[in-house]
Symmetry: C2
Subunit: 447 residues, 2 copies
């Protein structure tokens, strides 16, 4: 087997499941192995203890006359349950028909290892890198990166980069790479409506007692208009309209509606009118009910008016919406709808800022040139529907541009059984790293 | 202690809980004791086995030249849980400050025993009754009267009355009796909305996948307009408008809003505008969500689009709405609202017809005279918000008028701990029976 796959397989055999303390020794072993590998290829490396799992950093010798690039990744993986659905043991990596199967192969060990091997090859061939490089590989990405923020704050000076590169997203298809320049943010809160003090007999009190489930339903219904546009006053005020180039760029992508239909398996797709599926997913905000409950939950019928009802809501937000502003609008709207006869309780909100970087910036253009050199085609310029909370942390601490250059396929089964990563994309990632560091090195320093 | 209370206490000591088969011997003992008591006062009596608990019937000698009155009641009682909340053992009846405390004291042993003792006194005083009398006392009222319909069908000829009297409802207050001439009917069904085949990540599919909780909320919201009038087309078409005399009669009743507020304990009462609380409760239909659920039910937030959501709905219906017709309207309305992108499943419906008798009929007037003789005041003419399903059975089998002359107080705690019945109302019930049989006897036979 090749040195590339050998090295990745060693990395993949660590059962580095961050969510379960039973795997703590494997987590430590993995972090130490990684630091050892960094040293072996000629970098200095440290394993930094945190209140949770350690952070591994590595760097070459930094010189003031060149730019500093930080490459972020994570060595922790998702739990493997349900184990029964794996066709091979998740921590015994294997290649079958050009596909690497193992937990962590795509998310994120395969992708970060491609960068490490790229750096190894450059150092071997040229004895030096074109940039000051920092690898930052954490062990808590799958459990919320709880200790990363304080770590970055504590090491801000020594870690401050000019640009950050992350390969933890995806490609469009095996031969079509992508630069992800936008992500949605999120606002999550829970709504509780309390009516009567206890469940009441609907014959004895129906018509008198406010029904909290009915009131809650009216609130939820009021979130959208008939076109499934969000009907909260002011909600769209700061939404960055889709640019003409974005609509053109995305219209050129392979049609994914059939694929969406296959995963969703509802009778149809449904969303805001006037936009394509990808536009709705990547560039338009949503209001979703994640859970709803109240009153009788058992079999058959029970003639009660429930005492209370709840709904868990999330709003996916897009650039340039401010989660804090939207939070205030949502609260005001719900309070305006709620009749005074019931008690409305809104939980604290969890928020995540939307992310946007400029693919036309000097670093964005450098990344696109690196991709073009690697694949011999331009990367698709895309956004994504989800959120990557650590991006905010990086932006807050360092204030630098972040380049998302994913290597995983849509069918990579991240977080699911039979996670996989194409050998071809792994090798391309190694070459991408070499091209990327060269291109980023050539970007003039900001004045 | 008096013969009246002695006899009632014997009856109350039977732990005749129909819902729990552990009490079957007590049920049988109670039925046999009752038949024995009927015989002791001079009636012929039978204990009729059914596939469930037995039905007890009793009768005097029937003569073709007088009217036949059937008095219905039940000897089964509700379970006593939560036992810890009783201030005395539920099957050890006691009188305290003029109030009888025991499970079944109000519902229904005290009320049916008042009729039995009334008949006993008439027989003792006069040697005969003014009517052909049938007592029908069943043992399954608290569990749905499942075997009563077939029993009535099988004995239709021997049981056919001219009029039916039932004391299983309530008074307005200790000195204010009531004739209940209307009850609401019911339509119950469950709505399920299925969207995606599985719960989906709201970041990866939000904006594409139909959210069944949102769709369901829109359906529920569509059931009412802003005035809390039901917005289903055709829903009110057959609603019998409140008569002027009813509104006047009910306006004279003591104000019960404070009492309703005390029980409901919401921030306020809420219902269809344009009607008083009693009018809404007694004479206006409702649409209630009894339970709602779907998606994530745990602590905190989970960013999923639920695969499905359900709501359990009941509609309280009023004369002359037809539950079958309303069922069709509700189904049509929900189907019209439901977008084709999701799958709507409506369960089979359970229905109960609304009940209405004419308080101005010859029998209604006779009952009112009997009440006036007993209490020296006219009964309030009222309806109730709930449903009594067996009334339908009686109306279907016998097609006769039904007089609801309740003796229980609003605070009688039927089905709850510390069930109670006023000694005063018990004694009044005994006198009511005597006046009632005389007044009903005097009603001319229908031509």
């Amino acid at each position: 087997m090749s040195h590339h796959l050998d090295t990745l397989f060693e990395f993949l055999r660590f059962q580095s499941v961050s969510a379960d303390s039973a795997y703590t020794p494997q987590m430590l072993g993995c972090a130490e192995w990684l630091a050892g590998y960094f040293r072996k290829i000629g970098l200095s490396a440290e394993v930094h203890p945190t209140a949770g799992h350690p952070v591994v950093t590595a760097r070459n010798e930094h010189r003031p006359d060149r730019r500093t690039v930080l490459i972020y990744g994570h060595y922790d993986v998702q739990p493997v349950d349900p184990l029964a659905l794996w066709t091979r043991p998740p921590f015994e990596p294997a290649v079958e028909e050009g596909v690497i199967y193992a937990r962590g192969s795509a998310d994120n060990k395969g992708q970060i290892m491609a960068h490490i091997l790229g750096v190894e090859e450059t150092l071997k061939a040229k004895g030096d890198l074109p940039v000051n490089l920092i690898f930052l590989v954490e062990g808590e990405e799958e459990i919320g990166s709880g200790h990363l923020g304080p770590f970055l704050e504590a090491h801000r000076e020594s870690l401050q980069p000019d640009v950050i590169a992350i390969s933890d997203t995806g490609m469009i298809s095996p031969d079509l790479p992508a630069l992800t320049y936008g992500l949605r943010g999120i606002l999550a809160l829970e709504v509780r409506v309390k009516g009567p003090a206890t469940d009441l007999h609907s014959g004895s009190y129906g018509g008198l007692a406010p029904n909290p489930a009915t009131i809650l339903a009216r609130m939820i219904a009021s979130l959208h208009d008939d076109e499934f546009r969000i009907a909260i006053p002011g909600f769209y005020d700061r939404v960055l309209p889709l640019q003409e180039w974005e609509r053109e760029e995305w219209a050129k992508l392979p049609d994914t509606d059939d694929e969406f239909r296959k995963v969703i398996r509802s009778r149809g797709l449904l969303g805001e009118t006037g936009y394509t599926s990808l536009e709705r997913l990547w560039a338009r905000p949503t209001a979703e009910v994640n859970g709803i409950g109240g009153g009788y939950q058992g079999e058959g019928s029970k003639t009660v008016i429930p005492s209370e009802a709840f709904a868990k809501l999330t709003f996916r937000l897009v650039p340039n919406q401010s989660p804090r502003e939207i939070d205030a609008l949502v609260r005001q709207h719900l309070q305006n709808i709620c009749p005074p006869e019931v008690e409305l309780t809104l939980s604290d909100s969890h928020i995540g800022e939307p992310f946007m970087s400029d693919p036309q910036s000097a670093d964005g253009l450098a990344a696109r040139r690196a991709v073009a050199r690697t694949w011999e085609c331009e990367p698709a310029l895309i956004r994504q529907g989800g959120s990557i909370p650590i991006l905010q942390t990086f932006q807050q601490v360092f204030g630098t541009d972040i380049l998302l250059l994913g290597l995983a396929q849509p069918g990579c089964a991240a977080h699911a059984p039979n996670e996989n990563f194409l050998v071809k994309n792994f090798e391309e990632g190694i070459r991408l790293n070499q091209a990327l560091l060269e291109e980023l090195a050539a970007v003039p320093a900001k004045s």
